[in-house]
Amino acid sequence: MQYLLLIYSDEKIGANMSEAEQQQLMADYHAYTQELVTAGVMRAGDALKPTTTATTVRVRGSETMTTDGPFAETKEALGGYYLIEAPNLDEALKWAAKIPTAKYGSIEVRPIMVY
């Protein structure tokens, strides 16, 4: 099965990190991604720019409404994702728990719909 690991965290934590802490986090992510690749489970993965860069679009009837910011203002915001292949939920959860940000943020694990 394929699972999307959605990485949520408080953006302030990242913004308030020292240079050294940020570099450490980058290194941790690099190592984690490498581990996914080596295990042959990595399908895709990206980091997102902060929610200050987000724009939300809704179409209601014939009207398109464009608003500034993410679709919902929450303390923890979506900051990135991995798409992985795993035989079951437990395996996916195991990978989710290893994501460096899991230590202070939250990882939502969602199975991918198969048509």
Binding site: M1, Y3, A86, P87, N88, L89, D90, A92, P111
Partner: protein, 451 residues
């Protein structure tokens, strides 16, 4: 009830879990490939076999081993079902898959029931997976591993049958769609997962034991069912080597046994716990001759077995506390110093997050034990500190305890104030009567001792 109906009911109550778990193993892969819910397929096959028994036994007589008969019929129906699936998709791959299932003699031997004892253990872990909401785990565990019908479970939990059925459907759907595995978890996940299983079993027990509303008979049945599920779990953990080391596996068994002992020793007091008007009777006022001596004996033996594994845990500690209470033939003979020590140990586990019991409740219980063991002077500061922290601000027992302690130390105004606060916080009629009596005495200037 006819002999047939009795025998069928008995198989349903006692063998559901075993048969359904086995059927799920057999048909799971096929059901998933054909977009069917493996739980439903297994339940339907079992139901078919029960119906067949109701038809045939009045004519042919009840077989010597009714459970084996029904298991065999259900298994044969499962094999038929798998053949139908296979012929529907005549692909080579399908046939290969079918032949890799465990051997399927059409006239399966009765001993087949026990060939895969791990079936039920796997099912426990699937039903109690932390990715499912706990109420769903409770319902699913009772439905698939226990011998309760959907209607009975709904009645016990005071929800409509439709609501409960919906809860079951959602849980089964999540198992299928999120890919919750059907297996005994690997060693690194086991401590977390077993804790989830034990807490579901304990929740079933407490639902039956603590709630005072609802059908009394149904509630008693929940307690019995929780005890049975707990015992099955112990048996399964003892049968297989679960965990990655002898020590880990001992630790798991010890806690499962500790939970069973805790439930058994608690349940043993049930008859004395409610008076003829239906009000709760506090432990020190219970008629101890009405406690169930056989259950106590059994619970104490189970606790001894757990403790002999030398791997302490929160359920064993709570069982040990329950044991000290039931061992005392009068409240005065209770070994309070040891109970205080056990609460301190429990507190240690609670701070590590190893038990779901809230830390302040354990602190309060420890303070009560210290009061009984060493007197009110030593207990009062502990209770006062809890009250000042505001962590149990809505718990009437905190203020009732504060009332008793301050009164014993002659601080009558403080005592009255505390009892009044407690009275505001409880709806329980027997508690209220008791507290009103205390307030009345204090208002009339009577300084009594302990209740």
């Amino acid at each position: 009830m006819s002999q047939t109906a009795l025998a069928v009911e008995r198989v349903f109550r006692e063998e559901s879990g075993r048969v359904i778990a086995g059927l799920i193993r057999l048909t799971r892969a096929g059901a998933s490939r054909h977009g069917e819910d493996p739980f439903q397929v297994a339940e339907d096959l079992f139901q078919e076999a029960l119906t067949r028994a109701l038809d045939r036994w009045p004519v042919e007589g009840v077989p010597d081993n009714p459970a084996a008969w029904i298991t065999r019929v259900a298994r044969n129906a499962a094999i038929d079902r798998m053949r139908r699936w296979s012929s529907r998709e005549r692909s080579l791959a399908e046939l290969r898959d079918a032949s890799s299932e465990p051997p399927q003699p059409v006239e399966a031997d009765a001993s087949d029931v026990d060939v895969f004892p791990d079936d039920r253990l796997r099912l426990f872990f699937t039903c109690c997976h932390p990715a499912l909401p706990q109420p769903a785990s409770v319902a699913l565990t009772l439905r698939t591993l226990g011998g309760l019908t959907t209607a009975e479970i709904a009645k016990a939990f005071l929800v409509s049958e439709a609501t409960l059925a919906q809860r079951l459907v959602r849980a089964k759907r999540k198992i299928a769609e999120a890919g919750i595995p059907y297996r005994v978890p690997p060693a690194e996940l086991l401590p977390e997962r077993l804790k989830a299983v034990l807490s579901v079993v304990y929740l079933i027990f407490n639902e039956g034991y603590l709630a005072t509303s609802g059908d009394q008979l149904m509630r008693g049945q929940l307690c019995e069912e929780a005890l049975r599920l707990g015992s099955v779990l112990v048996e399964l953990l003892e049968g297989g080597s679960v965990g990655d080391s002898a020590h880990e596996s001992r630790r798991h068994r010890a806690e499962a046994l500790g939970l069973v002992a805790l439930m058994r020793l608690t349940h043993a007091r049930r008859a004395a716990r409610v008076d003829s008007s239906g009000s709760l009777v506090r432990l020190n006022a219970q008629d101890r001759s009405r406690w169930d001596g056989i259950a106590i004996q059994r619970g104490l033996e189970e606790l001894d077995r757990a403790l002999s594994l030398r791997a302490a845990g929160p359920y064993q500690i709570q069982a040990a506390i329950a044991a000290l209470h039931v061992r005392a033939s009068t409240p005065d003979e209770t070994d309070w110093p040891q109970i205080a020590g056990l609460y301190a140990a429990l507190l240690h586990f609670a701070r590590d997050g190893a038990t779901e019991q809230a830390t302040p409740i354990i602190e309060l219980n420890r303070a009560v034990a210290i009061w009984k063991a060493d007197g009110p002077e030593r207990a009062l500061p502990l209770v006062q500190r809890l009250a000042d922290s505001g962590r149990l601000a809505n718990y009437h027992m905190l203020y009732a305890t504060l009332g008793h302690l301050t009164r014993a130390l002659g601080r009558l105004d403080d005592a009255k104030e505390a009892f009044e606060r407690a009275l505001e916080l409880t709806d329980n009629s027997s508690e209220r009567r008791f507290l009103e009596g205390q307030i009345m005495e204090l208002t009339n200037g009577v300084a009594g001792g302990e209740p």
